[in-house]
Symmetry: C2
Subunit: 224 residues, 2 copies
Amino acid sequence: MEVKIIRKVLDVNDAIAHKNRNLFKEKGIFVINVMSSPGSGKTSILEKTLSHLVPEVSCAVIVGDISTTNDADRLAKQNAPVVQINTDGFGGDCHLTAHVIESALSSFDLDKIDLLIVENVGNLVCPAEFDIGEDKRVVILSVAEGEDKPVKYPLMFRVCDAALLNKIDLLPYLDYDKNAALENISKIHPDMPVFEVSAKTQEGFSKWIEWLKECIREKKKQGK
Amino acid sequence: MEVKIIRKVLDVNDAIAHKNRNLFKEKGIFVINVMSSPGSGKTSILEKTLSHLVPEVSCAVIVGDISTTNDADRLAKQNAPVVQINTDGFGGDCHLTAHVIESALSSFDLDKIDLLIVENVGNLVCPAEFDIGEDKRVVILSVAEGEDKPVKYPLMFRVCDAALLNKIDLLPYLDYDKNAALENISKIHPDMPVFEVSAKTQEGFSKWIEWLKECIREKKKQGK
């Protein structure tokens, strides 16, 4: 009974995600859905990502949180339009849905956006189940979280198209086996690109930014 | 419609939680439900907690994960019976329910347990909504996760009875404002006890262990 109803909720979500995806295609907007545990560094990564891209690339951001506008306030300083969604208005939802993204789109001039970044609610489980119409899903994993998260939360790593291993500036102070973490990612999703970065020192950012720019170029080509 | 069904699921859960709670009372078992983001150090904290308590206190552990038995394998070395629940058998559930706890109890000799520790699925959102019949809820927050998590995930901090601020050995290497974190906890849940600890160095453990022992003593008294 419960399973059937969850299936119905997901079907409705998929239909709206499909609509969002068509709109993004029509407008030539490349969309990433950034997911992670709370505190893995999503907002810090995105602050630095925007600082590398704007104004060369026209960006917009949708930020999901249960409560507060802390993240949107931080990102708004990067000269890109930002919409904050607080899911406590939607029953404290632990993830963003396609419908919530659709509602937020009216705040933007979609003809002027090349890259839409969605920062999902901090949660390594539920957001993986909800298609929002994105082109690529990106998971951020902080080295402070241990090596085993990919095998313990396999769905997230299975559905994502790229991973960022963040906070590598902390490696000297942790008993962290980076190769074990990379092997665990590879077990769940072989050949997924993994970018080793530090939002604090900006180490490793050039490859991540190049990957994003290549995706944006590809999307523009497809649109024509 | 959706809201009504979620309400029904929670009502069923509450009824089983009530049953669990009565059983724990009858047996004089003190039960804690330990929750946090993935990678905050739940298992490391519990390994060290068990090493302080066993054999003086008779302990048992239920560990929830979506996948793998990594955590149970680690905890089983601490001379306490451990049951691992993999929620991927329950549709990849992002939290433990009262029903799942009830099923796990048959693995233990309840007459021989003083403290039952439940390590919930790593998730700072959904587990907060499900009563499992516990006496106290404990949230673990790692200093590597930033200062703002209590205000961004307020329900978890509102429903918990104690907080552990973990990984304080990393403080010298982080731009972390500990007072801001403590103020944020206090904003959401004034006067909640907060234990500043490091599972790595065992700094701060004596107060946490004393708090637990006092809770166990109180529960035994009530049972008589």
